[in-house]
């Protein structure tokens, strides 16, 4: 189950509102996908996902010279901290960020609301 801190990470990664009527992660129903992911994904992938959420919560603030955890920061700072993961000079941190985005994308991008918003009709 996603904890409050995990939810803060995902909310910063895909916040509500924005262009083209794209919903936020939780508005799109990401939590349901995540439950299924934890039940079905291979153990190494589940472990990677948990590690990615932890790194995002506890390491990313340090990359913008703020004290962790992420949920102590303002909305703008949270986004900046996550962005910094993607630009980190450390390959491992960039890979962890990619994994965070990949798993989030699988759940988010396959929801009807998101597909509708970006004009994808799976035939």
């Amino acid at each position: 189950m996603l904890g409050e801190r995990d939810r803060a990470v995902l909310d910063a990664l895909l916040p509500p509102g924005g262009p083209e009527g794209l919903p936020g992660a939780f508005e799109a129903g990401f939590e349901e996908f995540e439950r299924g992911f934890r039940a079905d994904a291979p153990a190494t992938m589940r472990l990677g996902w948990r590690a990615a959420l932890l790194v995002a919560a506890w390491i990313s603030p340090l990359l913008i010279r703020r004290l962790p955890p992420l949920d102590r920061l303002s909305a703008d700072e949270r986004e900046a901290a996550l962005e910094a993961m993607g630009k980190s000079r450390f390959h491992l941190i960039r890979q962890v960020f990619l994994l965070l985005k990949a798993v989030t994308s699988f759940g988010y991008g396959s929801t009807p609301a998101v597909r509708r918003a970006v004009g994808y009709d799976a035939r």
């Binding site: 985005k101 998101v114 004009g119 994808y120």
Partner: protein
């Protein structure tokens, strides 16, 4: 006959031939051997997925049809996802169904390695003629191009370079960009819908949910395959082989299986070669609709010989596209909103690098590191791909490369050629895997001989791309199928 190991169904029989793996190599070999009237058993580790159940859900497809849910990784200076199917029909179910005959220059390289008689071009071309008829190979039809494939044609025309619609195993492709999830429209002619049912109709027994763990070898003779079913409790099975065991489990699984079976060779699991690929995203003013069109419907081999690269279009569903878009939070969503205006051209290189594959505690340990020469090829290829995108009308190119700007503007493609040398700065996909049980006349130089048999075990043959002495520079399914057919026919002749 089908046997579902996931339900614990048994098949304790003796077969003339036991084939391990049901992908391009295994299915082709099984069909050819079943055609001789002898009994054949095909063992597939993954499940049988009903084509009617193919959908548009990428994660669902990864979970049910990809090895490690597409989480298999090669490690080195970069982490590279290694894409493999783990399903009845193997990677042919989830690939883009591209058919390339082996280029003449690759044949020449193989001949220089002493393999002209073992892998004769004339025979392989004869098989390709047949396979192309069997599997409806044709250039991607115009109606399945969609916008993003057409953009490569436009860019190539403006640059005056070569690009063409890919030749694929498909009949009536609807251009749904869903090759990855198995082709819900049923157009793809994978092994699942062609050679496997044909082998079955000739009497082959096809067992799914059956992981081959080792080949039992007694007095230099392969006598059985032992393994575990995927049913609860993982019950054991043994498939006995009267004449031969054919290993067609892929360049990742084959060396591990042979090593577990007691095969010893300094070359086993070494010489691992591949075609690493990295994508480039172009932003256009008008929709490029990268989720509407044949998945890899167009390619350019203009620089196949000099830069050793091939450029391919890629159509993907949103959930796969989004992960690679830059940014987080609102900026990520802004990019998502632009996704329908993007097209992706991927650069795939015929790398010089050789890696290793061995068994680890949690699966295959794949070690692979690109060389400086490979990185130079890739950077040149990326520049060329960016030039194609700009020539097609892209207003921006998003490299996704650490150390380069997030976007490049027209006139800035050259910056890609001067990009970082560290593979860790790029995002990769590793596909097309070769060489881990390479063919050579003598055991001192390879794992299998010219008759495809493991040196020292005449009735244990390897039929997949593990035996290839080099990588190819083009998509390998066609070469794998023809070589597997050759292997099976020689084996049938030898074990008459």
């Amino acid at each position: 006959m089908r046997v579902d190991g996931a339900k614990g169904e048994r098949f304790d029989e003796v077969f003339d031939y036991v084939v391990i793996g049901s992908g391009a190599a295994g299915a082709t070999a099984a069909r050819a051997l079943a055609g001789t009237g002898r009994s054949v058993c095909v063992l597939e580790e993954g499940p049988a997925v009903d084509p009617a159940a193919f959908g548009a859900d990428s994660w669902g497809a990864f979970r049910s049809m990809f090895r490690d849910a597409n989480g298999q990784i090669a490690t080195g200076r970069a982490f590279m996802p290694v894409i493999q199917g783990r399903v009845l029909g193997g990677s042919t179910v989830i690939n883009s169904a591209i058919a390339w005959r082996l280029p003449d220059d690759v044949f020449a390289e193989w001949a220089a390695l002493g393999l002209a008689d073992a892998l004769p071009p004339k025979e392989l071309h004869r098989y390709w003629d047949e396979i192309e008829k069997d599997l409806s190979v044709a250039a991607t039809p115009v109606e399945a191009w969609g916008s993003f494939n057409t953009l490569m044609r436009d860019g190539a025309r403006r640059l005056g370079v070569e690009a063409s619609p890919t030749r694929r195993y498909a009949s009536g492709c609807g251009g749904t960009s869903q090759c990855l999830t198995g082709c819900p429209s049923g157009a793809k002619r994978s092994m699942l819908t062609t050679y496997l049912p044909q082998a079955e109709s000739k009497g082959a027994v096809i067992v799914t949910g059956a992981e081959a763990r080792r080949v039992r070898i007694v007095d230099r003779c392969a006598v059985a395959v032992e393994g575990k079913l995927s049913a609860p409790g993982r019950p054991s099975f043994m498939a006995k082989a009267r004449r031969a065991v054919i290993v067609a489990a892929s360049a990742i699984q084959t060396p591990q299986l042979l090593a577990r079976s007691g095969v010893r060779s300094a070359h086993l699991g070494h010489h691992f070669m591949a075609h690493p690929g990295t994508p480039l995203t172009g932003l256009f003013d008008a929709p490029a609709n990268l989720w509407r069109g044949a998945t890899q419907g167009f390619d350019s081999t203009h620089h196949r010989r000099d830069y050793r690269v091939k450029i391919e279009t890629i159509g993907l569903p949103p959930e796969v596209v989004f992960a690679r878009l830059p940014g987080a939070g609102r900026r990520w969503k802004e990019r998502m909103a632009l996704a329908k205006q993007t097209a992706i051209f991927a650069v795939q290189t015929r790398a010089w690098a050789e890696g290793t594959v061995r068994e680890g505690p949690f699966g295959a340990l794949i070690r692979y590191d690109l060389t400086r020469r490979d990185m130079m090829q890739i950077r040149r290829g990326l520049r060329f791909a960016a030039e194609l995108l700009f020539a097609a009308g892209a207003r921006e190119v998003w490299p996704g490369i650490h150390g380069l700007p997030e976007k490049l503007l027209p006139g800035e493609a050259h910056r890609l050629e001067a990009g970082p040398d560290n593979p860790g700065s790029y995002s990769w996909i590793l596909s097309h895997l070769f060489g881990t049980a390479r063919m050579a006349a003598h055991g001192s130089a390879g794992v299998v001989g010219h008759d495809f048999a493991v040196h020292g075990v005449p009735n244990l043959v390897v039929a997949d791309s593990s035996v290839f002495p080099t990588n190819l520079g083009v998509n390998p399914q066609h070469a794998i199928m023809a070589v597997a057919r050759l292997c099976a026919e020689r084996l049938a002749e030898r074990t008459r």
